[in-house]
Each structure stands twice: as C-alpha cells, then as structure tokens.
Symmetry: D2
Subunit: 347 residues, 4 copies
C-alpha cells in the first residue's frame, strides 16, 4: 500500500506512521518527494490487516491499496479457463452455452411450451423463476415450491438442465434438490450471508452482477463463493444502473472482457434485463458474443403479453429457433477465438 | 395507465388493445391525436394487474403508469408524521434523534468507551455492528453473538437504546432479543425475502436506502415491511453511487425532502458512509438537519486508526460532545419547523 | 401530452387547466379515473409550445410528453440508411468505415508514420487532433494551425480522408479548409452555439455523444446540426460516465442499436476512450461491430509511451494491420446484415 | 507518481521503466514488495510531463498520480477566503449572497416585475438569460441582444448587479458590457476554449459544475479561468446526473464542502435545477446554506406557468420575500461560522 502524507509532515509524523506500518506487519519505505512524502508499505495486502485505517490520522492524506483483493478467482491462481458441466451441456473454454426460459414459472402449460420451444432452438438448459424478487409487495411473487415441482417435471421428461434463483437461505435445500445451477440475482450480489450459505449447496452458482456493483466487488463476491466451497461459479453481467433511461439498465460489455481476463471463470450475459424490451435483446446478445462472453441467459415466454413479470423484455418462445439461428454464425466465429484470447491475454 | 401506440395504428390494432385493457379489469378511453393515438386505462393500478405487459404487443410503443405504487407508507394513507419510541428517546414529528456508535463491535472496552463518550454528548441510542457485511471475504466479519452480548450489557448498564444490523434471516431472533431497532443495510434494501422476515420480529426497522435504489423503490421496500407487519419503519438515506470519486457515496439530500413529503415515516441520515472520511461528516450532518431529516446515525469509535472496518469515516468518540455541540443550534432551529413543513406540504 | 392531476381535483381546477391547454393550442380530453384524473392534450407537441409549464400549477402532479422531439433525424422522416462519402470511402448502409490515427498530432514524423501504418491496415480515413480539449490547463494543448498544415500534407500526399476536432467557432473555417469531417467532441455535444456554427461549414460532422448525454438529447443535438444545414451527420458513441472505475467510460452498446433504429444516420463507435487502455480496444471494437455500428474511430500512435495525450489507450500504429485482420471476419459477417436489420426494424 | 508493475517484472523491465522515469525528469525509487514491485517517481507532477503514458508499456499495470493538479485555485496557494464585490453586494468570507431572477428574459414587463419582487425580498443581484442553451432546436432560444438591453435598463434604474450566461465567444463583449458576472453553464463547464476567452473579459465568472464533471475536473476548469486572467471565479454546484429520476439532477452537497476546503473561491448553489420543481427549491436551499455555501442562485418568475423555459422549477417571484424570510435565520446562524470553518479546516 502507498500512504500519502498531507503536505509538509514533520519527522515525528513520519516516524509515527512508519511505526504503525510496522505494527500492522508491513515494512515501511519512506520516500520524501519534492511536493509530497509517501510511505510504501511492503507486505501481502491480503494476509495483513489493511492500512486504510491510517487515513484517520490527521497527517495522512490518503492510503492507496495496490494489490488486487481476490485470489482464488484469479487467472494467477488458475490460468486455464474453467470448464463446467451444466446439465447436458458444457460451459466455458470455447463451449458456448445458451440458457433460456420464462422469467417466472406460471403454470405447467406455460413452462412446458417454453421448454419445448427452447428445445427446438437447440437450447437444453432452462431458466425459470419459482421465487421472484419483486419491487412492489403487490406484484406477483412466484409459485414457490409448486414452481420447483414443475421444473423437476420438465427436467425428468426432457433431460434439460435447470437454472433457478435462490432468494433466501430458507429455500436453498429445496431449490438445490431440483436445480443444476442456483442463481443469485442482481439485488443479492452483495448479500454475503446468502452467498456463504449457497456456496455450500453442492451446486454451480450463477452470480449476477449487482446493478451498482463495481467489477472488483463482483469478483470479490465470486471469491466469497469459492472461499466457502463452491467450485463452479458462473459470472453473469446483466447491466448496471446509469442515468440513461432509454434502456432498463446499461449493458456493460467491458465488464465481460475484464472478467474474462482477470478470472478463470466462465462469464455469461443476460441481454434481456438491460434491454428492457424484446426488440433490443438480439443486438445486445450479438454484442455479448463478440466481446467474449461464454454464454447467454435469455428470457422467453410462450405469450409475453400475459406474463406475470418482465413482459416487455421476454421474447416469444416460439421465435427462439429464429433467434438462435440469427446468432449461430456469430457464435461459431467468436466462441473458440475468444476463449483462446482471454487465456492468452492473461499469460 | 396510458398506453401509447406506435404511429398510425389500424382500427383493428386499437380494438385489440382495448379488449386486452378490458380483460385486465380497466376501462379503456381511446384518444386519437394528431400525431399519436393513446388509450387511457381507467382503474386502480394497485388493485389490478399491470398493463405494462402490453408493451410486448408490436403495435404498442410504451405504457406509462401514473399512479404511485405504495399506499400504507404514504401521506395519503396517514397524514400526520409518525412518532416512534426508540429506547429512551422519541423519533419523528419534531423529535430529533441522534444515534451513534462504532461501525463494528470489537471488544467490551471499545464498546463501553464509545457508549460513555456518546452519553457525554447526550446521545442515548447506540449503534454497533455484530454481523458485518464486508466486500472481501478476507476482511473482518464481526463478533457475531459475542457482539450482541456486549450490546446487551451496555443496554442493561446504561439504559441506552440499541440499533444493530441483521444480515440473515437466521439471526433475526437473536438480534431482536437485544436490539430496539433492526437495521437493514444498503446492500439488503431490496432483499425482499429478508424484509418480509424482519417485518415480523416485533421491532422497529431502520431501512437504509440501497446505493442504486431509486426513491420510489426505497419507499416500496418500506411498503414491504409495513405489509408484512412492521409498523415502525425508519427510512435512512446514506448516499447513492455516482461517478464522483471524491466521496465514498453521494449524499442525496433531495431524497430526504421527498421521502418526508411522500410518506409519514421518520427519515434519518447516515452522514458517515457518504463522507467516507471523518472531516466531511459534520458538514453533511448539517445539510441533513437543514433539509429536514428527523435524525442522524453517525459512526464513532474510540480509536479510529485501529478500527476493524470503515476507519476513515469514524469520528473519534471522545469528540462526540463537541460534534453535537456544533449541531445543536441548527437542530433547535430546524427540527420543529421541518416537521410542520413536511406535514403542511402534504396537506 | 398527458397532464396528471394531484388527487381529488375540483371541477374548477379541471376547467382551469383545460382552458390553459386550449390557450396553448391543444385540444383537451378529460379522463376521470378511479384514483386519478388526467387530461390528454391532443396536438403536435413539436409545433406547439410545451405544456410542461403547467407543472407549476398547484393542482398538477406531472406532465408527460409522449411524442419524440426530433424529426429530421428520424427514420419516420427518412426511412433508408443515409450513405455518406468520407474522403475516398463510403460510410453507412452496409459500408463499414474504420477511421484511425493519433490522439494529438505531435510532429510531421509522428503523423506520417501513423498514416503509413494505417494505410498498410487498409484504413484510408485518418483522425488526428490539432486543437485538444485538456482537463488541465497545464497539459499539452495541441499544435493548432501547424497541426492542420501537417494534416493537409498527408491528405495531399496519400489521398486520405481527414477527421479532426473543432473546439471553437473561431477555428471552423481553418479546420474546414483541411478536414472532410469536423468532429464535435464529447464535452461539446451540448454546446449548441458551436453546433449551429459548425453546421454551416459545408462539411460532414461527427457528433460524439456527451459523457452524460441521454440518447434522446444526443439525437436532438444531431437535429440541431440538420436544422442548421448539415446534411451529413455521423453519430459516435464513445462511452458514458458511470460509477464503474475499471474503465475510463462505460461503452453503451445499446445506444448504438437504438440510434440505428430511431435515425437514418450512420452510427460509429470510438472504442478507445471507454477502454482507457489499449488491451481493451479490440474486444470493445468487436462488440461495436456486432451490435450494429457502421464504423469505428480508433486511436493509434507510432509510440504510445511518448504520446502527449491519452497514451494508455492508443494502439501502437504498427499493430493496426493485425488489429484490422482480427476484426475483418466479424465486419464481413455483420455489416451487411446489420444495415438491413436496422432498416427492417424501423419499417 | 507511483508506477505499479505487473507481477514478477524482470530486472531489465524495471531498469527500462526507471530509465523512462529519469528521461521524463523524475527521480525513480524502486520498491520490490512481497507481491508487487513499484517505482515511486519523485518530482513535481505539474511541472513535469505526466508519467501516465507509461501505462502503455506491457510490464506496467498502472500509474497513480498523487499530487493535486490545480494550484492557483487552491487553499495552499491562497489560504484566506476570497471576497468578491458583485454589483452592490459582497460575496464570500462570511458574506452570503442570494442571486435570483427568471430563467429566460421574456419581456420588459416580466423582467421588471421579477426585479421588483426580488428587491422586496432584499435581493440586489439579478440573474436572467438572454442567450439560452436549449436541448431541442425547436424550443425558445432567448431574446439575445434585446434581452441584454433590458438587463441594462434594470441595472441602471434599480442599481442591481447582473449575472447572465455566455454561450459563445462571439457574445462575450456584448454580454460583458452589461453583466457584472458572466455565467458559464453546466453544459460548457469543460468547454475550455470558451473558458479561456471568457477569462479575459475583465468580469467575474460564475462557473457551474457540469452534470458529469468530477469535483477535481471542476476545480481544474476554475484553474483554466485563473490561468487565463480571471481573478474572480465563483464556483456553482447545480446537481449532477445520476440514476435517480425523482429529481432533475442530484444536488451534491458534499461537493460544496470539498470545494470550500480545497479552494479559496466562493462556492454558491443553484437549488432550482436539481429540484426540477418549485416545491423542492426551499429544502435544497436550506441544505446548501447549512453545508457551507456562500450564496444561492435561484430561478424566480412572475408567472411560472407561462414561462418560456424551466417553468416547473421557477418560484413565483411574488413569493420571494417569504422564501428569503424562511431562509434568513439559517443564513444568520450558518454563514459566519461556515466561513471560519472552511479556513480552519484548511489550515
């Protein structure tokens, strides 16, 4: 870490701060500059207590950490792209995976139709919400266990993989009984208590980036999952909150490129939530593929105008074969090259 | 709701949408304009299913809700300012309440010193974290139950009120056994599952605004608490995430003024988190008082440079008497007038 | 426009607002709902004065415009993609154009090397700043007229097209004497005085989106240019300012898709400024191509570590052939299809 | 500056970068840490070329400037609060100044009424726009020279000071002939060409913060003005663009506190633009006073519902006496203390 003093510290000030640095387990190197004086504190910033507390001393202007805070998620810890088995499909390292399905599970008929439409499009991993986080307490909150039962049915009948969201530690066991992948939604990305408990469920975890979560904080949330025992973390960029109102969220494609370089984890993109309307989902999916995503998670519903949630952004599931056909040449061109590029850039 | 058509809809398009409007329980009024055609859908937007799903129809450009979505939290439901009893103090309706204490509870000695310093400053409601949400899994995570035990000790000995955070539904009962107020942190503001469960604990709930939560979403989170049985909700503005990096968060004083008008709930401000450094806490507290806040929640630590979390923004607790003395004339000038103004503006 | 009343307006309130609506030239249609009353004001919102002033009446809650404010830039005004001739190249309607060159012109040698490297990469339109907007008054401010003279030299010798920035109305004539395209930088996107004057210079204008400019405001800035006589406007997305600090700006690929649908103008992307570092430029360029951009504008410098500005994000110009080779298959796959898709979506 | 290497640099890498550091005029100090190696470059960062270009070297991870970039605006250059004479009033150093008047000048009658109402409220410095920056080319653009003539009339008759906006270097002389203070609007805060020219007009300059301008960039824009000869710069916070849509902009009160500490310049607040509606102007003005602002600039119009621009946020000018009466006790309490506090904090 670098400790920057306010202008003109006395020798006693410098000595006092240097002593604190030693006390915290680092080795201080004092550098007296023309305009400013700094102490470079030598030591592993993860293993020792942070020196950032020293900002509270009146003579200290600021403390600058220089080491990244995540380890197990990093390319330095594990260079090669992680490849995961998700139901009948592979994800990562050149294996591009598309997940699709309705925002909420609403009925047996609705889910079955969506699944059958997805299968026609070549999609064999299904998403569908049984527990729904809704901004208003008066909105539809999901079918709960009955929705999970319907997911279990389609899994058994069609052999699809299942991705569904966990909202509460109370539901982890019942969701894990059905799902191949437990989804942590954007609003829970920094719900560390839930992350710790989900990590121990023995399932892959899809970690959506929070709408105001910086990339380094998102990767630290992934680090929580790994530290607590989850070895199959999937990162998912789904748009951040900005001043722009023409879209629901601003898809941050740079975050995909950065997460691919900094970590060995697969990174997928949800183009539906940032789009906010169905007609923008295809171009955003194209951008995601080209920037280097390992997969997509797309909302598709048999009849969007009657959906119980997020109607505007759901693609009619009957159109999924055409949607995938429009993307396939791009996937074929980009996926293998991107996998190599990310590993290469990290070397 | 207002349904706006794309340019030049056919009569059949209009009839189809009007029929859907009827089907959802609203009464459609078609208005054919010079450039655009709209349908005004007459009906209670909370009682009926949202028409926003109609955006998925190809002829519809957009759907504009015009009714506010919260009821029980609103001034229309309950005009007068809600006044709450928090330990030995009142909050709201002209009763200004300052809560202070360390970010994390670290030891008996640390907590007792902080409490005694606060008491000297006239502060009789104490905050202190036993369970801490930390961005990195390698950072200090709090004392847990041992921290709660220390809070119980100071409560018994000094008669102070206690505010402490709940991170997980697993801890609600044990936290509620000690705390007068259960705090929902910014990262859990839209963790609806936790909100529902905390609401039933029989304690007041302090609801921090999320760092990317819009005011209407924050008030809907309060509505969740009320719907699920919590009648003593305290709103807390603590800064939002913006592009500015000179502060940790951007304190949104407008949100205080708006929440005071739109709801009957007390609204307090946390000036410590947006400041990010101790020297900015006082001016932000001043702005909060003047804009109409009903109270403050301030981080104060006996020895900030050795704090386990948020060191930079904690005020040395020994300085709290001077801090409160600097604020008292402003509180005396503003608090009664602001209470009346908020009620008056809502009339 | 839709005028929403506060709850429970009297008949006299409604009549008073309706009279104002008539006075402003619209026809009022009163709709009394269950919870709320609204007036739909029928009339062309561009031709008449805005009713938004009525928000200042105490009985009015809000006024909602429903018509888009730009006309000449819109697909409704001109359905087909605009195709422009930029020096020796075409832009738009399936013609993908890459522009490259140094951030600032620093010397004859530097510019010539950059141009020759670009030509080897198949790039025949060159960017280069003679007048530079710099955040600090102590930073390099550009060569001014001497830089323009160097641009004129390379234009004459190599037959390249020239894109360069105009910072002030004082320089328009001298810049227009050399440039094929006058660039309006992000900080001047809403400098309407400059827009009006640049529009009359008889050159194409490249309009960068401001870092806090919403898409509708950006398209209205383009409308300013068209209204004041510029028929060759090129839109350029270059990233917006958000809370994320891992990149310099957040590239908003959705803005490209939306601008392509809403307008007939070519839309290009600057991947260099949002990236902030050279290694991210390639993935962002890939995302831009896939989402539907008509071109790229890329910073390339013979020796970035000695550049006078924006060193971190400039690609070594000697690498431009490899850079373009990496993009060409994607351009070949995407450009024609995207052009058709944008026109089709607008139909 | 601190140069951070990527992990495991070779001795040759370090020597190469150190040589560059010497070449740029700094003295390099190499610090080999446990996990990372850095070079601290000793030297005045303003006097020398920035080392940030070294980020373009493949072995460099990042370069961290540690010195502030503004000098003439800083408290270190000039410790005491700058006090300015604005028409008949003083501003700064405990002299609180309120400026008010209509958004746009629309007619002699409108301006005279507004001025007379302001005088009744004790306000003797008037704002009013003759040239208006409007988002749409179809909106009212101001009266131009005729508006300036009306300002000259009221100045002569009533002895008021005049603040009005300059949009273009073409208008500087004509605006400076009438105005005591030339206003640079938010959209031109980083229009450096205009800043340079306005600085030489021999008038005070009111510099509004841009809606996406960081505090350090805003202070550097002030530095441009000072470097180019303007010795009376007034900083004006007017809200930044964020995700929140309940207000037009988010008033950043922290920016006031920071600008007061870091610079010796007076800092005022425009509460009208962030509020976006008249009823929020008073509470935001209160927050501004309490946080330490030296003054206010408020929009007031004789008849807001007929205003040509910004109707919703203008206070009826007849209410200005009541508005000021509501603020005066707060001004009396805060202004002198805040002036001392800012100087004291900087000592």
């Amino acid at each position: 870490m670098i400790i920057v003093f306010k202008p003109h510290p006395s020798d006693a000030d410098i000595a006092q701060v240097a002593a604190k640095v030693v006390e915290f387990g680092y080795e201080p190197r004092v550098i007296r500059g023309v305009e400013l004086t700094v102490i470079a504190a030598v030591g592993d910033e993860i293993a020792h207590k942070s020196l950032e507390t020293l900002v509270s001393l009146p003579v200290v202007e600021r403390v600058i950490p220089i080491q990244k805070k995540f380890k197990l998620a990093s390319r330095e810890f594990h260079l090669a792209n992680t490849i995961q088995q998700i139901g009948p499909e592979k994800l990562g390292g050149g294996h591009f995976l598309t997940i699709a399905g309705p925002c909420s599970i609403e009925s047996r008929q609705q889910l079955r139709t969506a699944v059958q439409d997805c299968l026609k499009a070549g999609i064999r991993v299904i998403r569908g919400g049984a527990f729904k986080p809704r901004t208003s307490p008066y909105d539809y909150q999901g079918m709960g266990q009955a929705g999970l039962d319907l997911l279990a049915e389609v899994k058994a009948e069609f052999g699809v993989g299942i991705v569904t969201e966990v909202l509460s530690s109370n539901h982890i066991a019942q969701v894990a009984a059905v799902a191949d992948v437990l989804q942590i939604g954007a609003r829970n990305c920094q719900n560390y208590s839930l992350l710790e408990q989900v990590a121990g469920a023995g399932r892959a975890v899809l970690l959506k980036r929070g709408m105001a979560t910086r990339i380094d904080e998102w990767l630290l949330a992934a680090e929580y999952l790994i530290v607590h025992g989850c070895h199959n973390v999937i990162l998912c960029e789904r748009g951040i909150r900005t001043f722009e109102t023409a879209t629901r969220f601003t898809l941050d494609v740079s975050a995909v490129a950065i997460a691919k370089r900094e970590t060995h984890l697969p990174v997928i993109v949800d183009p539906s939530h940032p789009a906010g309307k169905a007609s923008l989902v295809l171009p955003l999916a194209r951008a995601a593929i080209a920037v280097g995503a390992d997969g997509l998670i797309v909302e598709a519903h048999p009849n969007p105008s009657e959906a119980c949630s997020d109607a505007a952004q759901q693609i009619p599931s009957a159109e999924m074969p055409r949607f995938m056909a429009a993307l396939q040449p791009l996937i074929d061109l980009c996926a293998p090259a991107n996998a190599n590029a990310a590993e290469g850039a990290a070397r």
